[in-house]
Amino acid sequence: MKLLAATNRYFMLLSIGLFAVGSGVLYAGVDHAVRNEVEEQLLTQRQELEAWLARGQPLPAAIFSQQYSASLRPRPLGYSDTLLLDPNEHELVPHRQLTFRVAGGVGQAPAWVTLRKSLVETDELLVATVGSMLVLLALLLGGIVVLHRYLSGRLWAPFRHTLAALRGYDLQQHQPLALPTPGIEEFAELNQALTHLSQRLVADYESLREFTANAAHETQTPLAIMQAQLEQLLQVPALADDAAAAPLLAELYGATRRLSRLHQALGLLSRIENGQYTDAVPLDLAALVREKAEQLAPLLEARDLTPHLHLAPTPPRRLHPGLADSLLHNLLHNAIRHNVPGGDVTVHLTDNVLEVSNPGPVISGDPARFFERFRKHNAASESPGLGLSIVQQICAYYGFKLSYEFVPAGARHTLRVVLHRG
């Protein structure tokens, strides 16, 4: 739940409670006051009547039967509510009545007098008073809620801006976050802390990247010496005397080769990140795919795989030749490596989509992690697990969209690269 919605909810709950209690209290209060007023009027009339009687005057005749009646039979004394039929409007009208006993004069029987007052007008007054008060209260509460919403929206705007900046942040652009300093102190501090954090991140990332690049480069020369000398050592005739010696050397040679390939891959990755491949020439991707498939034909044959190339003629695309080569090589090699014997490698190339698919066993794990460095499907594999990282890096470099898909029917894995037009 949003912070704003959460605070607003409590605010609304409080308002509704206050509103309910307030209207109850207001109603009861006004009602009470009005009734008091009516009762006081009735009491005054009673006193007037009693004074009138005390002067020896007889009980007046009942002129307005609704408001005054007298009876010789006893009636319940005191105040009470009653409903009387209004003869003009033919509806029951609530009345407040006061009944009291008057001692009759000499030789006269005591009488019970009832004074009444209609409550219709007072009800209307009540409705008008309470109604207007409630409307006012509602407007006030509603106004406060709206104002609160508006204000918090405005006050939290820097926070949302920061959040959007963080979400769109890409460490590989080598730029620290540039967050503004908003007027609200807390947000200003937050932005400052985040900017500082991103600066440190960029610096760390930068030094790590340089380290990788330097390490990869500096090891190539010793590796070149090792490899060349091992190969020369393999030519020594004396090796024939010991059957175990040559295979041992060959293993060493193979390991050296693996190490240097690993370094080349790492170096390539860091150079792509550095944006060192700005040269671009128009390339015919379809021809390149055909060339690569031809080059990898022995591997396909060895695994009994059939290549299916569906290559629509596409206009030349401007890419770095080395990167294009590496992209296709790694995509195809990946499809060969994770294939099943007797399977196929299918390449679809259209104007703006390159798709490489192959059958293969279900791969457990999160597909997004396949693109991580040193991610191997088979831990014992000789491959260092950098192929798809390189593919991803090249796609990111050119802004191509790369996606992976597994279709259980036919157990096909598909890697799709959405190329830009033109």
Binding site: L223, A224, I225, E231, A246, Y277, P298
Partner: protein, 225 residues
């Protein structure tokens, strides 16, 4: 055939000299840009093996000098620097070929031979080995005068062996030569075996001697004995 090796790393330089001399080349060395500059100005070479990272200069400048002088020498760039960019720049500047360090010596041999063949004989040159005669330009193989039909990869394999007579070729080197680099070794050994078996069979059918030796656990060798 005379070769100038421009390489500043002493250990690598001496190993390369050994290997190239075994391959029948006359090798001169230069350890710096200045030495190399002097030598290419004074002498003629069939091919210059050029390292790009030199202590006192950039190998690409030497390549520019050679091209400006219209030198007939072929240029094979060997570099430990960023492979993809140097390859493009080097080839743009007119280098004949490019090899990223570290490389297989047998691959270096094969590339050198191809360059010299193209340069010196304008391609009109054959490779002869015992009863074999190969015309690389026409991709034609003759066994005792009879044409031999090979698949593309079998032919590449044969030519690679012929470029390195008497040398042990590792499986890695063969695999990378046939499939381009960055091919998993484990994946590729099976196909090398298949192609070699087929090649041997075809050679035998034409009555050629079996001079492709299997070096157990290592690779293969074209025997000269």
């Amino acid at each position: 055939m005379k070769i100038l090796l421009v390489e500043d790393e002493a250990a690598l330089r001496s190993t390369l000299v050994d290997a190239l001399s075994q391959g029948g080349y006359v090798v001169e060395v230069a350890a710096s840009f200045a030495q190399a500059y002097e030598k290419v100005k004074l002498y003629h070479y069939d091919c210059v093996l050029l390292d790009l990272t030199l202590p006192d200069g950039n190998g690409l400048d030497l390549l520019r000098v050679l091209k400006a002088d219209n030198s007939p020498a072929g240029v094979l760039v060997i570099s430990a620097r960023d492979g993809l960019n140097d390859r493009v720049t080097g080839l743009d500047l007119g280098a004949d070929d490019y090899l990223a360090k570290p490389f297989h010596l047998s691959e270096l041999n094969a590339r050198l031979r191809a360059i010299i063949r193209r340069r010196r004989f304008q391609g009109q040159h054959h490779v002869a080995f015992r009863d074999l005669l190969v015309w690389p330009e026409q991709a034609e193989v003759l066994v005792r005068g009879e044409p031999l039909t090979l698949t593309r990869k079998e032919y590449d394999l044969l030519l690679y062996l012929l470029a390195n007579p008497g040398r042990v070729l590792t499986k890695e080197a063969i695999a990378e030569h046939l499939c381009g680099d960055a091919v998993d070794a484990a994946d590729s050994f099976a196909f090398i075996y298949t192609h070699l078996k087929n090649l041997r069979k075809k050679l035998q059918e034409k009555g050629a001697e079996n001079y492709i030796r299997t070096m157990y656990g290592v690779g293969y060798k074209l025997s000269v004995e």
